[in-house]
Amino acid sequence: MTRVHDMGGRFGDGPVVPEAEDSPVFAEDWHGRALAVTLAAGFLGQWNIDKSRHTRERLSPKDYARFSYYEKWISGLADLLVDNGVLCPEDLIGDEYDSSHPLSSRVLQAQAVPGALAKGGPADRPSDVPAQFEIGQAVQTLHPAANRLVDGGHTRLPIYAAGAKGRILRLHGTHVLPDSNAHGLGEAPEPLYAVAFPASELWADPEHPRDEVVLDLWQSYLEPA
């Protein structure tokens, strides 16, 4: 019911290793290149953020675990380009070069970069789904945590929070539903809430009786408690 990226609460990863505040933004030159190629290709407009996240999540657990962060990005990008018909597998092995790609008119030019990055891509949308919950209301998340539209599909309900009881902390408005948007099923916007869960609701051995975890959860992930 889950995938390898859904690692919240997992044991066994060892210590977190802090870095100096002034450490380089990109530890290796190719890291910056991987980020830039991925962003630039995204501006061709052939996929959305939910689809690209899901592509990285679909790396095999073996690859996901052994790949460094930017290797996941670049491998995800290769998969996105082929899955969405921008490239064919022959292109990746260097057999096919075609200088007149139908999407080349959409290429992100250098002078357009500042504007494109500054513009962003908001995820809030008008929706006719009314808010079902009020601030302070007790709710419970779905169990098991899984995409209800597509078997094995993308979802943003982590498994550690499945079936947990919490309370509505804030309403963020109505946002694109990743479970639908990642699979070309439409944006399906609905209310999005910040939901607070006592640590004792999530973990067998919480560190402190008043600690909490807050998750942003879509209305369809929630039921009244």
């Binding site: 061709l44 990285r56 095999s60 970069v113 600690d211 807050v214």
Partner: protein
Amino acid sequence: MPHDDHDHPHALLPPEPALRVKALETILTRKGLIDPAALDEIIDTYQNKIGPKNGARVVAKAWSDPEFKKALLEDATQVVADLGFYGRQGEHMVVVENTTDQHNMVVCTLCSCYPWPLLGIPPGWYKSDAYRARAVREPRKVLAEFGVELPTKTSVRVWDSTAEIRYLVLPMRPDGTEGMSEDGLATLVTRDSMIGTGLARVPA
């Protein structure tokens, strides 16, 4: 249906990651789908123009101006956009305030969501499996690895960024900073203090 075949297209690229990036960049450039000069521009933006200095300006202003702080806590997206901080991975901003009663800390367990316009590209540890796995379950042990120990009376609230809302922590203003200018205060605001894995610096 998500297809889970094991002959993913990426396996066709060279195994060494730097060469894999280079191969993809070359293919896309030859097809006219990316402009290498645009890549340089993107790298320059996140290496030199957008980083934690932006967030530090917001925090220093909030410490100095109660009206600004009130507005920031109510609608951060609009308030930081008015300062010129808006864009990719910062379209929906929420600022959460640390107090003696509650310490806030931000993680993205499912990927590595982070407020780019205010903090830039996340540091390696933020994207590590260890941080993603442990921050929600044992935040105090993780904080200890950053040299932060909280009093027992302070509760911890961990924000797992599961949607497109991006969180910035407003750290507590250090003692002994009365009368400092906004510019001076901004030098005390670290990246980690705005993620919640650190505290603001105490003036020397």
